[in-house]
Symmetry: C2
Subunit: 235 residues, 2 copies
C-alpha cells in the first residue's frame, strides 16, 4: 500500500491511478465544512466547479453553498464556514456546494474509483477508513488557486504518519516525505505553526480566527464523506 | 523584495512576474552540471527542450549534451553528470544541452527578464547576485517530471534563509515557508537527509553516488550562469 501526495489539483493527472483511494483535502475550509455538514445530518452534497452551476441548483430549489476568495458569494445562503452547517435547517437536506479550491480538487479527482473527504475534524475516521480499504492512497491537496499550501500538506502528513508507522503503508514519494517532516515540526501546535501561513493570514483578515481554530482541532466529526456519482454521501 | 518558490515547471505561469529574478534549480543534476561547465571554462550553453533539437545542433557540429531518465542519450557525448564537464575539451566551447527536467524548467522561465542557474555548487555566488540585484526572487524547481522533489526545495530554502535573515527579503508564500523549514531540518547533513528521497534513489541505482555527493557540496564553483537570449553565459 503506497502513499503519494499531490499538492495541487492541476497536477492530479500526473498522479492518477484508478485504484487508489483519493483523499481530497481543503482544511481551510471546504473539506472541514463538508465533514461538519455530514456530522450535522446533511443527507447529500453536490460539489460543483462553478458559481453558474451552483446558481442553477439554487433556481431549482436546492439549498446551495458558494464561496469565492474566503467569502460567501452574494445571493447564496451558505459559504464554506463550518459553523454555517451547525444548524438544524441542514438536517436531511441535499446541498450543492462550490468553493474556490476544494470543489475544484473534487472535480479533478472524480475520475478515480474512490474519492473521500479529509479534514482534521475526521482525522481518525479517515485513517480507519484507509486502513480498512488497504489500497494505495493519494492525498490531493486543494491548495490555493493551484499553489501549494501548508495546512493541507500538514493534514496529509498527519494521516500518512499513522498509516506508515502503524499500518504498514509505504512511500517513495518526495512530497509525502516533505509532508511527514513538516507535520513532525507542526503537530504539537498546529495553530501556532500556521501563524505565518498565507491562507491563515487571508482568513484572519476576514475575521475568521474561530473557523481556523475549529478546523485545526482533530476528531470533532467522526464521519467520512465519500463521492458516489455526482453526490457526496456518508461513507 | 519578495521571495516565492514554484515547485514544478508546469506551474510557472501561476508565479510569473516579468520583473522577478528566476533561479532555475535542478540540483540532481542539470543545474549542477551547467554550473560546473561554466566554472571549467565553457563559453556558452544552449538549453533546448527536446532530443530532436539537440540532435540538430550535433549535426551542425556543436558539442551536445543529452540526458533522459538519468542516463546519456545514445549518440551523444555528454549527459548531465558534472564530472563530464571537468575536462579541458569543453574550454571555450558552446554546448547545447537537453535534460529530463532542468532544461524544461529553463524553457518555462525564459519569458522572464532575468533567469539564472542555481545549484549548491554556486550557493554563495547566487546569494550575492540576488542581494546585488535587489529584486523579487522566484525559485523555479525543476522537480521530477513535474512532480515536487526534495533536493531542489532544500536549495531554495538554503538561499531564501540567507536572503531573509541577512538581507531583508520577505515571503508570504507557503511553499517558501515549507522550503525554509525543510532546509532547517536537512542542512547539517544534506546527504543523509536525502537518503530516502526519490531521485537520490533513482541515481543510486545508476551508480551515481559520487555525483550526488559532489552536487550537494556547496560553493565549489563560484560562478553564476545567466540566460541571455537563447544562450546561457557567465553572469
Amino acid at each position: 500500500m503506497n502513499i503519494e501526495v499531490c499538492y495541487t489539483p492541476n497536477s492530479y493527472s500526473l498522479f492518477h491511478k484508478p485504484d487508489s483511494v483519493v483523499v481530497v483535502i481543503d482544511v481551510l475550509r471546504a473539506t472541514s465544512a463538508i465533514t461538519t455538514a455530514f456530522y450535522n445530518g446533511v443527507l447529500k452534497m453536490i460539489p460543483v466547479a462553478t458559481v453558474e452551476e451552483a446558481l442553477e441548483y439554487k433556481n431549482n430549489g436546492f439549498m446551495v453553498a458558494a464561496e469565492r476568495n474566503g467569502e460567501i458569494v452574494e445571493g447564496f445562503d451558505l459559504g464554506n464556514s463550518p459553523f454555517g452547517y451547525m444548524n438544524s435547517k441542514v438536517k436531511g437536506k441535499t446541498i450543492a456546494i462550490t468553493t474556490t479550491n476544494g470543489t475544484q480538487a473534487i472535480e479533478a479527482a472524480k475520475i478515480a474509483d474512490r474519492v473521500i473527504i479529509g479534514s482534521f475534524l475526521n482525522l481518525d475516521s479517515v485513517i480507519d477508513y484507509l486502513k480498512t480499504e488497504g489500497k494505495d492512497v493519494l492525498f490531493l491537496c486543494a491548495g490555493w488557486k493551484n499553489k501549494f499550501n501548508l495546512e493541507d500538506t500538514l493534514y496529509a502528513g498527519a494521516v500518512a504518519e499513522k498509516l506508515i508507522y502503524n499500518y504498514g503503508f509505504k512511500t517513495v514519494c518526495d512530497s509525502t516525505l516533505a509532508a511527514l517532516d513538516l507535520y513532525k515540526l507542526a503537530k504539537h501546535d498546529l495553530v501556532s505553526y500556521l501563524a505565518n501561513s498565507s491562507h491563515r493570514n487571508r482568513l484572519t483578515k476576514l475575521d475568521l480566527e474561530r473557523d481556523i481554530k475549529y478546523c485545526l482541532t482533530p476528531n470533532q466529526c467522526p464521519v467520512v464523506p465519500v463521492l458516489s456519482g455526482k453526490f457526496l454521501v456518508k461513507g
